[in-house]
Subunit: 249 residues, 2 copies
């Protein structure tokens, strides 16, 4: 017997940026498991499901509940905001697989992709990632800061467009400034940058600014920051990184 | 009067990985414009629309048709495979905006995000991008090779998980091998890697292999290549980059 657990990316916000496939799968489930904020975002449409949440930092417990429910024979999905495989729960689910799956009762995992904040935020602010790009999280909760610093430097040096996740939190209020100082070795003050707060939720806020201004901006953990590459321009107050098609005209 | 042109990411393949929002917008349109392959993928559901395509390398012309149709008063969407803002047409549409928009007849652009191949391919092959990552295109049609080389080196040096787009084509059959040789300064032969061909289309093919094996793999322009970071593991024949939650247990 094989049970399948779906690990579903909801996209940002209230679910209209969820894929048609993700919605169809969630509709089929008995049980949906996730961080409470994500379950709240799902809303009425899924109120006939068994909904289970665990607090932040209880990610391992949340995954274990998925496996236990699947072994009980329930159709189970774990939901994540954005995409489940970008700073999401997909890899942790795989890391626990061998504890629960065996030749007699095999469990299969399926990751159902979703729109991550780099992509939904980029769409709101224009097209800042329309060429080679990096995504870097400034959270050092699970990653040594030295590693983050090395990546920031390399990304700036090699002229990637950059999306920063988790640019700040109560305990890490100066991290964006710190990151900007590190990158300023390679990025000029006038470089077009910007950020999007609360993508797909109430209170969405979009700001285009210079690299120099960026380091003093008030951002929070619901903000995605964009740093253009050396070709990025501001057009109609949007952040645009050219792909290069225009020279083909 | 303001007209809005939608630049819509269809996600990979036949449209079930399109977002609910993207589908609702396309349903409202009079005219859908795109590369013929993408229009074919849309299929029957949109056969009541005026569908217009231009060949590859005629991207500027394709954008101009969008503007002309919008100025005629049509509701227009440009469709792109994956996401319109990741190596897509969004930035080119913005670059042409000022030629068509003026205070009397303002045209607004709206990018509607979609699932890019890095995300849909990652979901197929496990969770290779579950930490800081880079997306790099190996196509030097619009980008000098020296720039691509610099980015490959920096990405490998700073231990990013990496997704490669356009790893090969008829004219560039050795580019993946070339890229691997450049990155081998920093990436060991045993590093878990892999690729996904024809994501969301017929003939999907998923392969997990070592970095050493990768350079000799036969890939094409419909392949997305994944290179793990130094923590990436193979679990259940999938490519898994840990986020680091497990140490919180």
């Amino acid at each position: 017997m094989t049970n399948c657990i779906y690990i579903v990316g909801m996209g940002p916000g209230k679910g209209t940026k969820m894929t048609i496939e993700a919605r169809a799968i969630l509709k089929e489930m008995d049980t949906i498991i996730g961080y409470q904020v994500y379950l709240d975002l799902l809303g009425e449409e899924y109120s006939d499901k068994e909904l289970i949440s665990t607090p932040m930092k209880k990610e391992v417990e949340r995954c274990r509940i998925c496996y236990e429910k699947a072994l009980e024979g329930k159709k189970v999905a774990m939901v994540c905001s954005g995409d489940a495989g970008i700073y999401g729960m997909a890899s942790l689910m795989y890391e626990l697989l061998q504890e629960y799956s065996n030749p007699n009762k095999k469990i299969k995992l399926r990751v159902v992709p979703g729109i991550t904040a780099a992509i939904s935020g980029a769409a709101e602010i224009g097209a800042p990632l329309n060429h080679d790009f990096c995504v870097i999280s400034l959270s050092d909760l699970l990653t040594p800061w030295e590693k983050i610093e090395k990546r920031l430097k390399a990304a700036a040096y090699a002229d990637f467009a950059i999306a920063l996740y988790n640019p700040s939190s109560k305990k890490r209020s100066h991290y964006l400034e710190k990151a900007c100082i590190i990158m300023s070795e390679y990025i000029e003050n006038t470089r077009p940058c910007g950020y999007v707060k609360n993508i797909g939720r109430e209170g969405t806020e979009i700001k285009v600014c210079s690299f120099e201004e960026l380091k003093n901006e008030k951002v929070d953990m619901f903000t995605t920051v964009f740093i253009g590459n050396s070709c990025t321009k501001i057009i109609d107050n949007k952040l645009i990184t050219p792909r290069g098609y225009k020279k083909n005209e």
